[in-house]
Point group: C2
Amino acid sequence: VLLILRDAFYGVRTFSAFHERLGMAKTVLSDRLQRLTDRGILERVQPRPDVGRFEYRLSRAGRDLFPVLVALVQWGDRWVFGPGREPIQILDRPTRSPIQKVEVQARDGHVLDAREVTFAAGPGASEATRALLAKFDTTNAERKRRP
Amino acid sequence: VLLILRDAFYGVRTFSAFHERLGMAKTVLSDRLQRLTDRGILERVQPRPDVGRFEYRLSRAGRDLFPVLVALVQWGDRWVFGPGREPIQILDRPTRSPIQKVEVQARDGHVLDAREVTFAAGPGASEATRALLAKFDTTNAERKRRP
């Protein structure tokens, strides 16, 4: 599913182009494209009414996954390919300069890593989520108490 | 796999806690934890030598997936749960203020959406990637030529 999305951002649109790129069985690809369409991430579009061929395009929700995709590409550049072996560069279109690294930032703009945040129940938290967060807070407290 | 990672960021560590949270078959969970460990995203740690129980913790590579995870959580808040129904808040630990939305930024700091970037072959591009990017550039050129 992630590979399909990545290719959709790169501009792949037709079933045959996805198939050529990803090399998965047609039934599997068809099933995944259907699921992405059902979830409203891809839209099935018929660009020309006289040609029966559909295209799969990113919906607004799909395009909104852009930061997820870029963060994942940058993670792969670092941990899978390594510096100097990046397969793809993402460029700001008008200036063709590389984009910045996607980071998590605090309200004042400083970059946060995973250990500098904490999680709290939101307005839509389920009982299970509340229970997990309560347990997690205990764990943090324990960690602090240990030398 | 994404749900396991999300829970790992929330502080879930033991097999039984993952199992309780995710409710998947033990064999499936075990297989996925093994794959995440093989890929160097989780580390199997034995916190106390006298207790045989392992914990799964995020490795450095795993913690580096933090921007991916946060972007995905924020996407879900918007498109799955909706405003006012967010299950979890992510807070800057010392100030307990909500973090910023994760965005893709150009070098000068302005926010980019998916249509404002272009892709170029990186130093490690395969032939297949080069071919795709060449095709994609053609598509862009065509788009411009159309009224």
